[in-house]
Symmetry: C2
Subunit: 434 residues, 2 copies
């Protein structure tokens, strides 16, 4: 099949065919959980649609000679052992989505990782040369965290940051556990895939994702060299009041949990305006009311509220201002406000060696590149603490994310795939492996 | 059994026994759906607990010689035909409750209605005299409207204000219809209980309820003569924004439906403060967020918002102010705000003839009484438009309502029962029947 080979090891005559193969697979993948009448998908973790795409993905990997294994938290791996006993380069992301979400997000990263490994494997087969490292494609379980919390569940368990039993016991809002949902799909493995006792070891990791923002598009950058994650402070709040008849109770007698919660939602937005544009992002995306009846003053509201910034100092100042609001709402609206969960992290750098590798590859390929930060966490946020890691972005039109209209142009998808392929090739040859 | 009879027709020697019978039944009824560790109950319409209390109540009525029928919307009637072919006095209220609610609310009214009819029936049996009207006890289906909307469903269908098929097709948040829920409990009747073709006709109606407020307790009033319902304007709002990544989307790019909804919740509360104390009650008790995920800016929030006042003018002014806020939020937060439902009514009087009857009875019995308004609707709000109606209140300690701690003293429960008994006696003798 290989007609000729360019100086950089890319099969020239093959690239067009390989690109078409990727785009065909991409089109097929985008059909799983497709939301009728839109360009988007809904395939939350361990849903029926997620099960279907996982089966399809396993078949795709097996057809290319990869061995598919699922570990005990439902991470799905395609393994290609070319150098018996050698550690693995892992490339991956996540196939699960938010509700009514875009078809790109993590799915692009998983399929690009698969095709990058397919390409490298084909080159190696053509030359008959064994690489220093073996190849693995990863579809990490439940990166989104919309159905089961926390997010990045699969990679958190993989990297020892979350206990397996805690993750498996987590339930969705209908009371279905992760264990039950995965087992129901036949996607719950019985053994680890990597680490002690498995005979397999991870040596390095690469991930590509569409940017969830519009800076790359505005700056004309094709490959984002992700060098750090924004700092963040995330809160779970429980606001408690007292049930009362919402018609007849005197206003002065009420202790309205929903009023207190609404004041926090508004305050979070106003907080962002107290800082320079872009310095602080705030959000409340999830809020649940009890008893949530039209004629009952709410006795309890749970909400999640995030502060995010490149700067830890900004977050600290914002946190202080938020706590002042919390105190005022407690006093003025006579509600209880309890912090039920709190996670904070400083600006979190990716290893510079990985950024430098990605930059060299982009230069080699002649792809416009730039250093960018990621606001959100990714599975690579976990993996970088375990092994040398490269994190890449491609542009997203208008920065649309977690939305049915999310869109990345084919040319950017293919450029990212070319770049990731070269990164995987370097990693398989031992780059970053020390 | 009757030992002597006082001047007001009350069996003196029997009253103590009858009161004990009422309190014993009250204690039994309060056990259905009891919330462990509290004094309250949870027995939403057509729930398992509601089915259990309905079975118990049917047995209670049958043991006293009443015939139990259920109509096609699940209203439960106990019928005692003493004068063949004559119309009926109906006395009743509702056994269903809000989530984690008090045990009094409508349940007191249903059991008091039953015991009032028991007492009147026993007097009549003792004298052998046939009354002008027959007796019926009503347990109206789904007065609360927490599980199935709208509230006052059973009495609305009974009085022709809501179509039977619409009511039966209504679903709860899990998709279970009223028809399925009632049928599952064996509580869905196949025929009407009153009206054309049934051979039965309603002539008058009486209802007693605990006050959902504290004015009677403060004023030392035992029997509230309910003369009107507050005016109200109820809104269903749908706030629409756009899904986005709640971390990475630029604040200026966001169209956050939850932010818009929160501003309405806060505005409603602040609106009440713009009027004299007690002139305007505002509330939002129910609010649902989509997709309700921690990392997604909400694209849609539905909420119910009420304005209530004794004065239609106050409501009209409040509505104008609220609409100004709606316009401002639409413009400033770039969200859509649509009114999905809107119901308004003016101050709604009860017939003065019923109020006068209730006052005469209270004078006769030497019970402290006063004219009061009700903020909330009751099944009598529907029935008064069909037949002459008497609506009564007994005090509620601190006015607590729709809350596990709702409480009314035994002496007030028994005073109310005595009063209602005398009202039913008068109505059975043709008072208000014209």
């Amino acid at each position: 099949m290989v007609e000729s080979r360019g100086s950089r090891g890319i099969a020239i005559g093959e690239t067009g065919v390989a690109d078409e193969a990727f785009l065909a697979d991409w089109s097929a993948l985008s059909g799983f959980g497709a939301v009728a009448g839109t360009n988007g998908v809904e395939r939350q973790a361990a849903s029926v649609a997620d099960g279907e795409q996982r089966s399809w993905f396993a078949a795709l990997l097996e057809a290319r000679g990869f061995t598919v294994v699922r570990d005990r938290i439902g991470n799905q791996f395609g393994l290609l052992e070319l150098s018996p006993g050698a550690p693995y380069v892992i490339a991956g992301s996540h196939l699960d989505s938010q509700p009514t979400a875009g078809r790109f997000d993590g799915a692009y990263g998983v399929l690009a990782a698969a095709h990058a490994c397919f390409r490298v494997a084909e080159e190696l087969r053509a030359t008959g040369r064994a690489p220093r490292l073996n190849l693995a494609v990863a579809n990490w379980f439940n990166e989104e965290g919309s159905r089961f919390k926390p997010s990045m569940m699969g990679s958190s368990v993989f990297t020892g940051k979350l206990q397996l039993e805690v993750a498996l016991a987590t339930t969705d809002p209908r009371g279905v556990s992760v264990r039950e949902a995965l087992a129901g799909l036949g996607e719950l493995g019985e053994e680890d895939a990597f680490g002690p006792g498995t005979g397999r070891e991870a040596a390095s990791y690469a991930e590509i994702h569409v940017q969830q923002g519009r800076s790359m598009e505005e700056d004309g950058v094709t490959i984002g060299l992700v060098h750090a994650t924004w700092a963040a402070h995330k809160f779970g709040f429980r606001v408690t009041g007292e049930q009362a008849h919402s018609g007849s109770a005197l206003m002065a007698d009420r202790r309205d949990a929903l009023l207190g919660a609404a004041r926090l939602v508004v305050a979070a937005r106003e907080l962002a305006d107290e800082f320079e544009t872009g310095a602080l992002h705030t959000a409340c995306g999830e809020l649940n009311v009890y008893p949530n009846s039209p004629v009952v003053v709410a006795s309890e509201v749970e909400l999640l509220l995030d502060l995010r910034s490149p700067s830890r100092e900004v977050i600290e100042l914002a946190r202080e201002k938020l706590m002042a609001v919390v105190d005022r709402v407690r006093a003025e609206d006579r509600v209880g406000i309890e912090i039920t969960a709190e996670h904070a992290w400083d600006q979190n750098p990716y290893p510079e060696a990985g950024v430098a590798l990605a930059q060299r590859v982009a230069d080699d390929l002649g792809l416009a590149h730039g250093r960018v930060m990621t606001v959100a966490g990714h599975d690579s946020t976990n993996m970088k603490d375990l092994v040398p890691t490269v994190m890449l972005f491609v542009p997203s039109v208008n920065g649309v994310s977690h939305n049915l209209d999310e869109y990345t142009r084919d040319e950017d998808l293919l450029a990212g795939l070319r770049h990731l392929t070269a990164v995987v090739r370097s990693l398989a040859d031992g780059a970053l492996a020390g």
